[in-house]
């Protein structure tokens, strides 16, 4: 569908999945991962998407223009483990049309 974008998500076992993510359902990246069950329930989105647990940390491997990091996301990442320069919290990234071709990788569970 027109309002869907293609995203490549590499799960915690290293398997890459090509998924269609809707842009009209107010979904974020964490919710897309959950809706495709790419990480077991209870290991992602634990706080529900409030940037308070870092269980949806992912590495962004393409140069897409993503929404700027807010203070709470930055603060949470500063306390998370396995953080890299391209780390983001999936729950803070709303899916938009500009994300066509985005490639991300889930950070290890901690």
């Amino acid at each position: 569908m027109e309002q869907d974008v293609n995203i490549k998500i590499t799960d915690r076992d290293g398997v890459t999945h090509e998924v269609l993510a809707p842009t009209d359902m107010a979904m974020n990246l964490m919710e897309v991962i959950r809706s495709y069950e790419l990480a077991p329930e209870g290991t992602i989105g634990i706080c529900g998407g409030m940037a308070m647990c870092a269980s949806c940390q992912c590495y962004v491997n393409t140069n897409h223009n993503l929404p700027e990091m807010q203070d709470d996301e930055e603060a949470m990442l500063s306390e998370a483990f396995n953080v890299k320069d391209n780390s983001r919290l999936g729950c803070q990234i709303q899916i938009t049309l500009g994300m066509e071709g985005l490639e991300i990788e889930l950070a290890p569970e901690s």
Partner: protein, 353 residues
């Protein structure tokens, strides 16, 4: 041995509301929770965040919801075993269960209701290669008894409320408190941040930011931590101390419940949702976020419903064959186990002359 009618594992909203519904059926409850306070996620992760889908509350803070649930079930005098994790369950000859915690506290009940949410909260451990060797030998992830730090040199790592609050608290007890965080900014309440600033200015807290503990030095006990500091030029140095306390929050793990012989699917316990939310083991129920069935939604309000139906089934197990009809609290009032009674005021009958 603590004896009760319904043993509830998990003191979150679903567990607390179970106390109320069970109380209406004259069943007593006792709750076990790994956290030191009731409320589950609502008090541990987001007490100051609003919830908008509790019926009749257009908006309520998660912490307030916990307080209201405690107030609502108070007259049914629930017992609490807090700060302990339910570890093992053993079925007895009389069909009752004995649940033992990690600290050896034993509880016996004919009905067990698992209201464990996403599991018990375990501290998140930093990725330091040799940290496991020093656990309980100077490395503590949770502060249980602040007195052990008296006149000791303490290093705390973390950037949230618990790191700030414990740094403040221990600055009066320990001989030396060092707070290490990866950033200059902290994520705590403003007054905690300001208090740490004040104590830093007074020289009572030694602040090292942006920095990270990357190693632990010691023979049988912590002697020092290795600190990597990233300001201007990267440098690494050893900081002598007696205790290292990493405070990086808690994350829920299903934990020992997973080994109780219950049918598990997607990190949740399968239940019979057509009837009573019983698990594959008769007498053990699972309610709230911890269970799963076709169409399951992890919502607090769904947990309340599940708790209510589960209590009816528990009543049948505890009082086999005994007659019961549903009563409305408005009609019957509430008789607390503490002798209190709540009831609707009587209608006023007065003649008009």
């Amino acid at each position: 041995m603590i004896k009760t009618d319904i043993l509830i594992i998990g003191a979150g909203p679903t567990g607390l509301f179970t106390v109320f519904e069970a109380g209406l059926l004259k069943l007593k409850c006792h709750l076990i929770d790994a956290l030191p306070q009731p409320g589950g996620q609502c008090s541990e992760i987001y007490p100051k965040k609003p919830i908008y889908d509790i019926p009749a509350y257009p908006e309520i803070l998660a912490g307030d919801l916990t307080n209201k649930l405690l107030e609502q079930c108070k007259q049914f005098e629930p017992g609490f075993t807090l700060g302990e994790r339910a570890e093992t369950i053993e079925k007895q000859e009389d069909e009752s269960f004995i649940v033992t915690t990690n600290k050896g506290t034993k509880h016996q009940a004919p009905v067990v209701a698992i209201a464990g949410g996403l599991g018990s909260f375990e501290p998140r451990k930093p990725l330091i290669h040799n940290i496991a060797n020093f656990e309980d030998k100077g490395v503590e992830y949770i502060i249980k008894d602040p007195e052990i730090y008296r006149d000791k040199r303490v290093v705390i790592a973390g950037g949230g409320d618990s790191a700030l609050d414990w740094s403040i608290f221990l600055s009066d007890i320990a001989s030396e408190v060092t707070l290490i965080h990866r950033r200059n900014e902290f994520r705590g309440h403003l007054d905690s941040v300001e208090k740490v600033q004040e104590l830093k200015n007074q020289g009572k807290i030694n602040l090292i930011t942006p920095a990270e503990v990357t190693g632990i030095v010691g023979d049988r006990h912590v002697n020092a931590v290795v600190v990597s500091q990233a300001e201007h030029i990267e440098k690494e140095f050893e900081l002598e101390c007696d205790h290292f306390i990493p405070l990086f929050g808690l994350s829920p793990k299903l934990g020992p419940i997973a080994n109780w012989g219950l049918e598990i699917e997607k990190n949740a316990i399968k239940v019979n949702n057509a009837l009573d939310y019983q698990t594959n083991i008769p007498g053990i129920f699972a309610i709230g976020d911890v269970n799963t069935y076709p169409g399951k939604l992890k919502l607090i309000l769904c947990g309340f419903h599940e708790a209510t139906l589960m209590c009816q089934a528990a009543y049948q197990i505890i009082n086999p064959g005994k007659r019961y009809v549903l009563k409305y609290t408005t009609v019957s009032g509430i008789d607390g186990f503490d002798g209190t009674r709540k009831e609707a005021p009587k209608a006023v009958v007065k003649a008009i002359e």
